[in-house]
């Protein structure tokens, strides 16, 4: 199945959820959804046949005062979707990053969400075990993948 066919599928499957399905020039499919519709969209996507999460990415966007969270979904079992990766994208407020957890929809997002909480600071409500995973327990300061954590770089005045 071509990727545009998948996009049609998604549009049909997610009807009435105020989502935006777009396809970029490089063939990536992105489903944009508002945070309060995230769980519902996820459930519908799972029912369509997307059975696992490949990645959960938090992207800090200080210019927009938001943190984007991207779930990359695909399927092991549904042959139509094995070939595609769909990005389920939402965004939360940077100052109060709260998002419902999708670990009940996809078990595979458990550790990925925990990592996003740890490194980007997005709080996933309803996550069964949200805690530090990669950073030491006594880590202090803003989540390291936020843009306000600036690393030293090599330079003339370093």
């Amino acid at each position: 199945m071509s990727s545009s066919g998948v996009a049609e599928d998604l549009k049909r499957g997610l009807e009435g959820l105020l989502v935006q399905v777009r396809e970029d020039a490089r063939g990536g499919i992105t489903v944009e959804v508002l945070p309060d519709r995230l769980v519902e969209a996820a459930e519908r996507l799972r029912n369509l046949g997307f059975d696992h999460v490949k990645s959960v990415t938090g992207i800090d966007l200080p210019s927009e005062k938001r943190v984007a969270v991207v779930y990359h979904l695909s399927s092991y079992t549904n042959p139509a979707y094995v070939k595609v990766i769909v990005a389920l994208r939402t965004a939360v407020e940077r100052s109060n990053p709260q998002l419902p957890s999708l670990s009940k929809v996809w078990l595979s997002s458990h550790y990925l969400e925990r990592e996003t909480f740890d490194l980007v600071g997005v709080v996933f409500q309803g996550h069964p075990d949200l805690g530090r995973i990669l950073l030491p327990d006594d880590y202090e300061g803003p989540p390291p993948l936020r843009k306000d954590v600036v690393l030293k770089t090599e330079g003339i005045d370093a």
């Binding site: 970029d24 020039a25 490089r26 990536g28 059975d51 696992h52 999460v53 490949k54 990645s55 990415t57 992207i59 800090d60 991207v70 990359h72 092991y76 079992t77 094995v82 070939k83 990766i85 990005a87 996809w106 078990l107 595979s108 997002s109 458990h110 550790y111 990925l112 990592e115 490194l119 530090r132 995973i133 990669l134 950073l135 030491p136 390291p144 993948l145 954590v149 690393l151 770089t153």
Partner: protein, 391 residues
């Protein structure tokens, strides 16, 4: 005297200084000899690759991303460069693609041999620790001929590869494979059909197909549970669509079948490399858009030695704005790169989801209900490499 029983279960902290833990801590709750709770405590090797990548130029990231999965670095390198090329819109010349596959498969064999060695020492077979590590040296020698380095090759660069095929490589590789095939039979005699091994591994740490899909585990672990998912087949990159190989799958989903899948994949990888050597087309090994930036002297050097002089263009590679996601099949499973570019010389966000991190989900699920002595057996069978998971 009064006795007070506080806790029924024994909580055992295994690691990080423990011969059976690697670079992590395993927290096991035991009821007698049976595991009733299990929690891997990772993060001991978290070195912030994703954050450091935001401070480095696109080409400088290549050595950075290949450090965490040290024993499997060509595949990681390849995954990153594919993502970068997708951003740039560059398609490497055919010979470069074949060489990439060749290096990646050689490295996959080395990685599997390393995994088998660690698995064997976890259940106590010191000889089977030594043999695969000895035979891994053969592959490292081949890769060293190809790229000039022992374990961290940085072989794949945007638009091509760093070096062409050296003289006499084909004969050397075929000889190495004859040797390896003979050794695989030795492994079978000593280890795979050893009654103790079979008793220790068969039926231990079973992951059912449904659970494997739900947990989202990847690589040989997934295929051992009966899911025929291999990125090389699902979404072929480089030249995998032209090559003939089998996706090794098994039904049982236990530790033993994971071991056998790995052994089978070694065979398949050798088959792929042989095909690459046969089909290897001649031609340039770097995309011409990069060749344009080279001085005539550097070009002459390249023609003469088959080694690429880095064009100055590399130092300030500025991909257009956008985001790409790329997956490749690394030694331990599917590797996922998600690169967001804002048009500057450094990536805005680089997401790298390594196979080991995805396999981490299997631990909690698979350990409970087994015995204490099964922890290393299962841990080894998952071929989990903590630096790769923690990045």
């Amino acid at each position: 005297m009064t006795l007070e029983v506080v806790e029924k279960h024994l909580e055992l902290l295994i690691g990080p200084q423990h011969p059976g833990s690697g670079h992590m801590r395993l927290v096991a709750k035991l009821d007698g000899d049976i595991i009733v709770g299990f929690d891997p405590d990772v993060g001991f090797v978290h070195r912030a690759v994703e954050k450091i990548a935001e401070t480095k130029g696109y080409v400088q990231i290549i050595p950075l991303v290949e450090r965490p999965p040290l024993v499997d670095c060509v595949n990681v390198n390849l995954g990153y460069v594919l993502a970068l090329e997708k951003l740039l819109g560059v398609e490497p010349p055919p010979q470069a693609s074949y060489l990439r596959v060749l290096a990646a498969e050689l490295n996959r064999v080395a990685s599997h041999l390393y995994g088998i060695a660690i698995h064997a020492i976890m259940i106590g077979s010191s000889t089977m620790f030594m043999w695969p590590l000895a035979d891994r040296e053969v592959l490292l020698e081949l890769l060293q001929d190809l790229s000039g380095a022992r374990v961290t090759y940085s072989y794949v660069i945007p638009g091509g590869v760093r070096r062409g095929l050296p003289e006499g490589f084909k004969e050397k590789a075929l000889k190495a494979f004859r040797y390896l095939r003979r050794r695989l039979r030795d492994y079978d005699d000593l280890f795979l059909s050893n009654p103790v091994t079979v008793n220790r591994l068969r039926g231990v740490g079973v992951i059912e197909m449904r659970d494997a899909v739900n947990l989202g585990i990847v690589g040989p672990n997934l295929r051992a549970s009966g899911v025929p998912y291999d990125v090389r087949r699902a979404e072929p990159y480089c030249v995998y669509s032209d090559l003939d190989f089998e996706v090794m799958t098994r039904r049982e989903g236990d530790a033993y079948s994971r071991l056998l899948v790995r052994i089978g994949e070694i065979e398949q990888s050798m088959k792929i490399v042989e095909q690459c050597l046969d089909k290897n087309p001649s031609g340039p090994i770097l995309h011409e858009s990069f060749l344009r930036g080279l001085s005539p002297k550097a070009r002459a050097y390249m023609e003469q030695t088959g080694r690429v002089r880095f064009p100055a263009l590399f130092s300030a590679l500025k991909p257009p704005q956008g985001e790409v996601s790329v997956r490749v099949e690394a030694g331990r499973g599917e590797l996922f790169f998600y690169v967001v570019s804002d048009g500057s010389p450094t990536p805005y966000r680089l997401r790298m989801v390594t196979p080991s991190f995805r396999n981490l989900a299997a631990f909690r699920h698979v350990m409970v209900g087994n015995r204490l002595a099964d922890i290393p057996a299962i841990y080894g069978s998952l071929d989990y490499f903590p630096p790769e998971a923690d990045r």
